[in-house]
């Protein structure tokens, strides 16, 4: 039964639009999947001891490259996407290579990458004549006389976006599984434990770390593109800077960054928290969701550092032998 559970859930999600669910549940599902994808991308390297506070930069590069290309040069997002990926890869290598080469780890790595995400935010704000500064920017609409435009990657129907987000999220999980089964993961785990020892048995520390960083950064960049095209609005605060970077880290931690579905659970958890609070107390009480979110994060890291799904998986494993014994 448990083996079939994921497939049943997936089928339900894929078929949900056919059953005619409303726009609001669709929006929730799309948001969960998109952020689930982004958090998964972050956790790909975060779980291996590389805690990056700079992923906001990659999200921002993705979101702003396509929107600026479309608005100023009429460049289709299909061409903007590869451009954004090249840019994100360049930044990832430019930051990653020296970091890994010179063994910038732990606190130092977190703070260097934090500088990166702030640089991205400041550049977006400073280029306000092109980007609209702190007010954000809206891609020129291609939906004036049609419901969708493939070349502009704009769709008025949320159903289309559900399938796009679902595809991205599944691809993210697939990458995670591939990484998990590769030699690189063993190498990375060895590096996370003891970098010198790993190097001494012949692991090319810089190359292995750079590889996983590139994958993680490129996926985050794609997440930024999809987020911008879905929301049809970008803002330097929501796609770059320290705020969204911390949001990614904590989403992944709350769900559990050591298990495949953990980051997704984190995305669902944070979204549900915000939505439930909004339904219960309305829009009038500002800051309540941030307060509870912050409090929960502190409690999580102190009492449940393995996250919601991580703790659930541990409890499940503890129960298994007992059940087997009972069955015999």
């Amino acid at each position: 039964m448990t083996r079939w559970l994921p497939w049943i859930g997936l089928a339900a999600l894929a078929l949900a639009p056919l059953a005619g669910i409303g726009n609001y549940p669709l929006h929730l599902a799309i948001t969960c999947l998109l952020w689930g994808f982004v958090y998964t991308s972050w956790a790909l390297m975060g779980r291996l001891g590389m805690v990056s506070l700079g992923h906001g930069a990659f999200l921002g590069i993705g979101a702003y490259s396509v929107v600026m290309g479309w608005n100023h040069f009429g460049l289709s997002p299909w061409l903007g996407l590869p451009l954004a990926l090249v840019l994100a890869a360049l930044v990832a290598v430019l930051i990653g290579y020296p970091c890994f080469r010179f063994k910038i780890v732990g606190h130092y790595f977190a703070l260097v990458t934090l500088a990166l995400s702030e640089v991205a935010r400041m550049i977006i704000v400073a280029l306000r004549d092109q980007t609209g500064g702190s007010l954000g920017a809206t891609p020129t609409t291609a939906l004036a006389d049609q419901a969708w435009s493939l070349s502009a990657l704009q769709f008025s129907s949320k159903v289309v976006w559900l399938y796009i987000a679902l595809a991205a999220w599944l691809a993210g999980l697939w990458v995670w599984t591939r990484v998990d089964r590769s030699m690189a993961r063993l190498a990375l785990e060895a590096i996370a434990h003891e970098e010198e020892a790993a190097a001494s048995v012949g692991i090319n520390v810089t190359r292995v770390k750079l590889g996983i960083t590139l994958i993680s950064a490129l996926m985050t960049c794609i997440g930024g593109v999809l987020y911008a095209q879905y929301q049809l609005y970008v803002n330097p605060e929501t796609v770059s800077g320290i705020g969204v970077s911390l949001q990614m880290v904590f989403g992944a931690i709350a769900g559990g960054m050591f298990v495949r579905l953990g980051p997704t659970v984190g995305a669902i958890f944070t979204l549900l928290l915000a939505e439930v609070l909004r339904l219960l107390v309305g829009h009038d009480i500002h800051g309540l969701d941030t307060t509870i979110y912050g409090l929960l994060l502190v409690l999580f890291i102190i009492f449940m550092p393995q996250g919601i799904l991580g703790a659930a998986a541990q409890a499940w494993k503890r129960q298994q032998p007992a059940r087997r014994a009972a069955a015999v």
Binding site: I95, H107, A110, H286, T290, G294, I302, P305
Partner: protein, 290 residues
């Protein structure tokens, strides 16, 4: 024409020096805590934000004289520092080092949320207007001058405390070897709490100085928090003197870079300089703890 150019540049440099004083004060508190407890308080700027609100309410709402409001703010933030260590940092001291950084990130959101809940999102101003000083043909803000002087005084006091008192010696000893000192009869947790109280008091002092220059709102911490961390890393984490020098370098880059281009570009230049230095000297300009 050439002379006016130089004058504005000189003004930018002087302002950079004054900004450097504030940054050095921010870095001092963070470095002290990192040097002794090995923890980076990501929520340091949010503690300052709470201190700024404290000054605002005590002075503008309850009508306390300004100096008393300042004292109240320093005391409150100092207490917050102690509580932060006792109830948030202490439980994770034995966990993965990065968890200690992240747990204070949770506190960042908590304090920001609480401030929004309690005080709303409006910008508030203390309403104390200090004059502008005219030196030659340059204009220098008195608020910044006071901040610079107070920041220097705070740093000298901290330095003397660490070097000349028995307690200061114990704190320096703990920061050098955490495992040996307990064997010598030093209670590390007591030292940690005292260090947290001093770190908090320095944040409270910074709050008093910043509230004279800036409007208060719940997200204000995000505008100078990251800069404070970068200054610390630039000087070498835990290196008090390094942080002091790095603060002035960083402030000059922001101020003079902002003069030549635009204020945000000044920040971009400073941040890029920081990243470049990390690759040249990964432990900071003046070496730090690993």
């Amino acid at each position: 024409m050439g002379q006016t150019f130089d004058l504005f540049l000189l003004e930018a440099i002087v302002n950079g020096v004054l900004l450097g004083g504030i940054l050095a004060l921010l870095a001092l508190g963070l470095n002290l805590i990192f040097g002794v407890i090995d923890v980076v308080w990501i929520c340091y700027a949010e503690l300052i934000m709470i201190g700024m609100y404290c000054v605002y309410y005590l002075h503008a709402s309850f009508g306390w004289p300004l100096w008393l409001a300042f004292a109240g703010s320093v005391a409150l933030v100092s207490l917050l520092g102690v509580l932060l260590h006792q109830y948030v940092i202490r439980p994770v001291l034995g966990a993965e080092p990065i968890n200690q950084l992240l747990v204070t990130g949770g506190v960042l959101f908590l304090l920001q949320g609480l401030a929004t809940l309690a005080f709303g999102v409006e910008f508030r101003n203390l309403g104390v207007r200090l004059p502008t000083l005219e030196v030659g043909e340059m204009f220098i803000s008195v608020a910044r001058l006071i901040a610079f002087g107070a920041a220097l005084a705070g740093m000298v006091a901290t330095y003397l405390f660490l070097k000349r008192t028995y307690l200061g010696t114990a704190i320096r000893a703990i920061s050098q070897d955490r495992s040996i000192m307990p064997l010598m009869g030093v209670n590390p947790n007591r030292i940690f709490l005292i260090t947290s109280a001093i770190g908090g008091a320095l944040a409270g002092l910074a709050a008093c100085l910043l509230v004279l220059q800036y409007d208060i709102h719940p997200a204000i911490g995000l505008s100078f928090g990251p800069i404070a961390f970068l200054v610390c890393v630039l000087g070498g984490l835990g290196n008090l003197v390094g942080g002091f020098v790095a603060a002035f370098i960083f402030a000059q880059l922001i101020s003079v870079g902002g003069y030549f281009f635009h204020l945000e570009w000044g920040y971009v230049i400073a941040f890029l300089f920081f990243i470049a230095v990390m690759f040249w000297k990964p432990r900071g300009l003046f070496g730090g703890k690993s």
